[in-house]
């Protein structure tokens, strides 16, 4: 198989070899647990504290405020459930938006079942939340605003600093889900005025299964994992020393390369968007054109469906020998019958959501890779459009209307 081109880095990134190397030491002779007292364990403890410092430095935090978790999903669950439980006396209302990640929406839905009220703010056609809407939505009984920083699907970066200024003034906690932004764009907990912030190692060349929650000193939060005294009794469980060391190393590397890499990827991203817009008819860029993660491109391609695009790209053929890996918001890969709720939140008709392709770049992707992948994308789209019973060039048929009507294909089948 010719070298694959991996353009699904918003799902997960390849662990950096330097990260793996740093982890290796703690998987060998130095396997001891940091909770123990002997020399062995105290080396592990030092390694963990060094990693904590690296993570803290990457997000402008005090290292005492960084707590290790198993990933952003745990961090998000902890932030939402932990704060609401700690502040239940104050009120039972929280605020988020319609274009959030499932690891935010599902805990919110869970709270609703338990009697909490959740306001899901709308986003505009670029995916932006209006800070004024946050302001209006905050009530006496609001205890938490949780907002994604960089959207994983459409790349839109929320105006978190502005939202943070509002929540700070009104005395409501702000939780930022920064799983996609940390390590890719500057993230500073002070500049964002956030009280809690989630991140995940494998989203920026660190290991899978490890993440962190920043909890500003003084923030009231109940633990999600009760047990041993680890993490100052706030998050129990034997430390995943290699994973934590890996997250620390990834944070260190990210911080070092952040500006240059963000710059390089933004340029590559814009090159890709340009080239798609020049070479294809009847497509739509999803997400904000400039307030956008450096590594995210998301387009809807009229008249065809995302899974078949993704699948075609991933299987090498005589013309396209290199497999290309992307993702899509089509229902066919969501595991539900609905296309991406994020694309629908932008106001897209379901057809266009089904026909979306997300290209997410990494530090390993070159312009040559992008050119190859785009040629494949153009060829594949052309082929699939030739098979489509609904596509007519320039007709914009799919873009017109019918949004709002649900899909009842299950009932129909």
């Amino acid at each position: 198989m010719d070298k694959a081109i991996f353009l699904d880095n918003a799902a997960t990134t390849r662990t950096d070899p330097e990260v793996l190397e740093a982890m290796g030491e703690w998987q060998g002779d130095n396997f001891g647990s940091p909770a123990t007292l002997y020399a062995f364990g105290s080396q592990a403890k030092q390694a963990i504290e060094a990693a904590r410092q690296h993570v803290a430095d990457l997000i402008g935090a005090d290292q005492k405020d960084v707590y290790f978790t198993s990933g952003a999903t745990e961090s998000n669950n902890w932030a939402i459930k932990g704060v609401t439980e700690a502040l239940a006396e104050k009120g039972k209302h929280i605020i988020t938006n319609q274009a959030e990640h499932h690891s935010i929406l599902m805990p919110c839905g869970y709270l609703q079942k338990k009697g909490w009220e959740v306001t899901y703010l709308p986003v505009d056609s670029d995916g932006l939340v209006d800070p004024a809407d946050v302001d209006k939505a905050i009530r006496e009984d609001t205890v938490l605003v949780t907002m994604v920083h960089g959207n994983h699907e459409i790349g839109t970066i929320q105006p978190l600093a502005e939202i943070g200024a509002i929540t700070r003034e009104k005395g409501v906690y702000l939780h930022a889900n920064a799983a996609q932004s940390v390590g890719h764009i500057p993230v500073d907990v002070a500049a964002l005025s956030c009280d809690l912030l989630s991140l995940s190692g494998h989203k920026f060349y660190g290991p899978k299964g490890v993440g962190a929650l920043y909890i500003k000193r003084g923030v009231r939060i109940v633990p999600l994992l009760h047990g041993g005294g680890q993490e100052k009794k706030r998050r129990a469980g034997t430390h995943n020393v290699p994973g934590i060391v890996g997250l620390g190393k990834a944070s260190e590397l990210a911080r070092k390369n952040l500006a240059s890499e963000a710059n390089r990827l933004s340029t590559l991203r814009d090159y890709i968007i340009d080239k798609i817009e020049k070479n294809m008819d009847d497509i739509r860029l999803n997400g904000h054109r400039t307030r956008r993660l450096p590594n995210n491109v998301n387009v809807s391609i009229e008249g065809i469906e995302g899974e078949s695009i993704m699948l075609s790209l991933s299987y090498p053929t005589a013309e396209n020998a290199r497999p290309v890996f992307v993702s899509t918001g089509s229902a066919c890969v969501s595991g539900t019958l609905e296309p991406s709720h994020i694309l629908l939140a932008l106001g897209l008709p379901a057809e266009l959501a089904h026909g979306s392709v997300r290209i997410s770049l990494s530090r390993h992707n070159t312009r040559e890779d992008a050119d190859y992948a785009l040629d494949s994308l153009f060829a594949v789209s052309e082929r699939l459009r030739s098979m489509s019973p609904v596509y007519k060039r320039g007709s914009k048929q799919c873009a017109s209307g019918s949004s709002g009507e649900g899909c009842d294909c299950e009932a129909a089948s």
Partner: protein, 125 residues
Amino acid sequence: MYTEQVMDHFQNPRNMGEVENPDGVGEVGNPQCGDVMRITIKVNADERIEDVKFKTLGCGAAIATSSMVTELAKGKTLEEAQEISKKAVADALGGLPPQKMHCSNLASDGLKKAIDDYRSKHPVK
């Protein structure tokens, strides 16, 4: 997740396109669901399917099942073709992932619709 046969029919679909001057046309699905299939058939004097083609918007399973149903239908009498079930199509492809069994396996419905369309224009004497 897809079998080799599915991938083969997806990558190299058989009978893709539209029959000229079709005797029957069946369209099923809905772009909002992400699946639309259009089956066109040519029926000969013995009520056999002489030619059949498909055009499909949809996922890998949708395209592969469309391709397979045309293969299965070709040369069959209308009566035989009408009996082609979703399961038969899936079996011929070596199986489909469970969640694809229904939503993306509408091709046999499309064929039935095309046959119905033919029948409505050629009522039994």
